[in-house]
């Protein structure tokens, strides 16, 4: 990644639900995942964009010292193997993207979905302070 920028950017939905905004991923994080893996996590960067663009729900209030952090949840169009092979989305799972208040993406992963609430992660009522979008 010679000459790589400090941040990579990608566009997604604003947490207000109105319009779009720019998100940033530190190139150090992308480089780490690219160099050390796991490999599926590098391929999943494509899913980060999908979920930031078309979330099913956005939460705020991740934890202490991340009170204004955001979690974008969604079901992307597929999943990836370590070899980069595209497969169907993981059954019973949902893809989450974690973002700081300033739009800095720092974590993305599949998690268990709420079986009673499509498009929501398991235990969402307990783990997040509030639902940012859509307004409930």
């Amino acid at each position: 990644m010679a000459g790589a920028p400090k941040y990579w950017t990608l566009q997604g939905a604003s947490p207000s639900g109105h319009g779009r905004q720019e998100f940033r991923i530190p190139s150090s994080l992308v480089e780490h995942i690219q160099r050390y893996g796991p490999q599926h996590k590098f391929h999943e960067l494509r899913l980060v964009k999908e979920v930031l663009e078309l979330p099913t729900v956005i939460f705020t209030g991740l934890r202490e010292e991340q009170e204004d952090g955001l979690c974008y949840a969604g079901i992307p169009s597929g999943s990836y193997t370590n070899e980069g092979k595209r497969k169907a989305p993981l059954k019973g799972k949902i893809f989450l993207v974690f973002v700081t208040e300033s739009g800095h993406v720092f974590q993305w992963r599949w998690e268990e979905a709420d079986p009673k609430m499509e498009g929501y992660p398991l235990d969402w009522r307990e783990r997040f302070e509030s639902q940012k979008w859509p307004k409930s």
Binding site: M1, T9, Q34, Y36, G37, P38, W110, E111
Partner: protein, 129 residues
Amino acid sequence: MAEELMKYLERAKPKGFRPRPYYGPEEDSLTFYFDNTESYGKRVDELLTLFLSVKSDELVGCQIKGVRKKLKRLGDFGISIKHGKVRLDMFFHLLAFLAEKPVQRKRYLELSEKTKDLDIELDEELVRA
């Protein structure tokens, strides 16, 4: 300077797998995978998420949040951080000792076993912050 990530992904490929922890200072969390297996996250509590194999549910990694505060506790226990390096198994062992619930303690001890002889390098200024 910033560049569109998707354009970069068109030409970039992952280079392989080596177990190496990543510390993100802005979000103050440590992510560590010790296996390349395709995985999903399972949240244990506000400060610990485990990565489990999609196929077998075996533990393959973790994300620890609130790292700065935890490192301060290491200092309280007389464990020094030399040259910005922290022994991960000691770190997890301390978290097991401090854990409030048996399930948390069990998971931290499991992580301690998985991270023997591994260090994480941190900026010493961050550790002191």
